[in-house]
Subunit: 256 residues, 2 copies
């Protein structure tokens, strides 16, 4: 780890699990601060805006600056800025729109540059999908905040953003740009914010594919934690080999 100068850290499953902070997580963050490592937090959640996530982390006892948190909506905003366009139609839920509104990127009228598709649950109505479809047929590009198939909701397996992204791709014949993990775009955004190259940073995560596989594929190191969604069998089956495996983020001290 001697060339590593910064860390990207996943949230759910790494800092907390099931609404409870992982023991020793804040101490590991403090240690990074003390030793002058750069660090940022990268989560694939697309149901909550950055400010709300910061508030939730605070209520779990974490001391994390809001501007250190990166989510797919933030990556989408960066993508829009880079494209020099700002008129977007949001297929998102909850308060995610705030991340866009904050930058002046909201639904401004009939001409739309980008359709943004997240894990939007009940907001994925026929009418909203049809509106998105028509915008794309009129020239708008599609940004997928993620393209997961489904997730385990309290009520059972539930469709994520992926099927609806796929539906709009099928209808329009166009392909969406995916901006969440494991896209290079997403990792680059947080790396640039730290002023580091990929080979100077390590990703700490519990998802062998999106966290570790994604990090390794762009030249970062990947540190897998045995908390959250970690399952030994599932890891072996992927064929992805983490740079390190530690019991939890609390063990970061032992490998620095």
């Amino acid at each position: 780890m001697k060339d590593i100068r910064g860390f990207l850290i996943d949230l759910d499953g790494v800092l907390y699990v099931g609404g409870k902070a992982i023991k020793g997580a804040q101490e590991s963050i403090d240690l990074l601060k003390d030793r002058k490592y750069a660090f940022r937090f990268v989560s694939n959640t697309t149901r909550t805006c950055r400010n709300t996530i910061a508030g939730q982390l605070s209520s779990l006892g974490f001391d994390i600056p809001v501007e250190y948190i990166f989510t797919p909506p933030l990556a989408a905003v960066a993508w829009l800025k880079n494209a020099g366009k700002h008129r977007c139609y949001l297929l998102t839920t909850g308060d995610v729109y705030r991340d866009f509104e904050h930058e002046g990127f909201c639904n401004p009228g009939t001409i739309i540059d980008f359709v943004i598709i997240g894990d939007a649950g009940d907001r994925l109505t026929y009418d909203n999908l049809n509106t998105a479809f028509r915008h794309v047929m009129n020239g708008a590009e599609m940004i997928a905040l993620e393209k997961d198939r489904y997730w385990m909701a309290p009520g059972g397996l539930s469709l994520s953003a992926g099927p609806f992204v796929q539906a709009l791709e099928f209808a329009t014949g166009k392909t969406a740009t995916i901006v969440g993990k494991p896209s290079k775009t997403f990792f680059d955004l947080a790396l640039q914010d730290m002023g580091l190259r990929a080979d100077q940073a390590a990703m700490i995560g519990d998802d062998i594919l999106t966290d570790i596989g994604g990090a390794l594929s762009i030249g970062m190191q990947g540190i897998l934690v045995r908390t959250g969604k970690y399952r030994k069998d599932a890891v072996v089956n992927t064929g992805v080999k983490p740079s390190r495996v530690i019991d939890s983020i609390a063990q970061l001290r032992d490998i620095l």
Copy 2:
């Protein structure tokens, strides 16, 4: 046409256009009757049940027995009978459920053998799609009444069943069986009802791909009419060569 003993006839665009009967259409049907040809009607509509279609045809002045009308919901019912299963979850709209109810195939409870997906508009809610998704993950098979991308509704281009079929295929990793035109299943159903082989029948339609292409691919003849959605350029671009092209079904007399 000398070996032809029966005809399959499309409805919208062939018998009527924009709510008006094509001039001479009923006379052509009468002629088929007089000359002892077999005939059935095959439409890809998935928004109306067979009885309602028969009523609409009657109000346009047509004299067509209800049991001569074949639509994708009817093809799905035949598929279910053939499979010896009857528990289905319907993602359909309007009164299409009547075609299933009529055979005792309705939503009976929690165990489902088949999920049936049609062009269901507002009924394609997140919750309904999620219910369909869970049934498929629990072992139900998917039947797509059609897999079109979109259609021109009065309010503008609108998503058809295809994108939602694609969404559920992506989420579940399974493939839906398509039972509407141009599937062999569908043509076979109407052919069997006439007691004819494919090479003894001709399809009369206005859609070069689903009507003519579908018919030719299973060994039927394909007679294209220049009414309905017929556009010369579009026909040439497909590369499909109809057996005959006539101005409208009224000209059937000239080629019998």
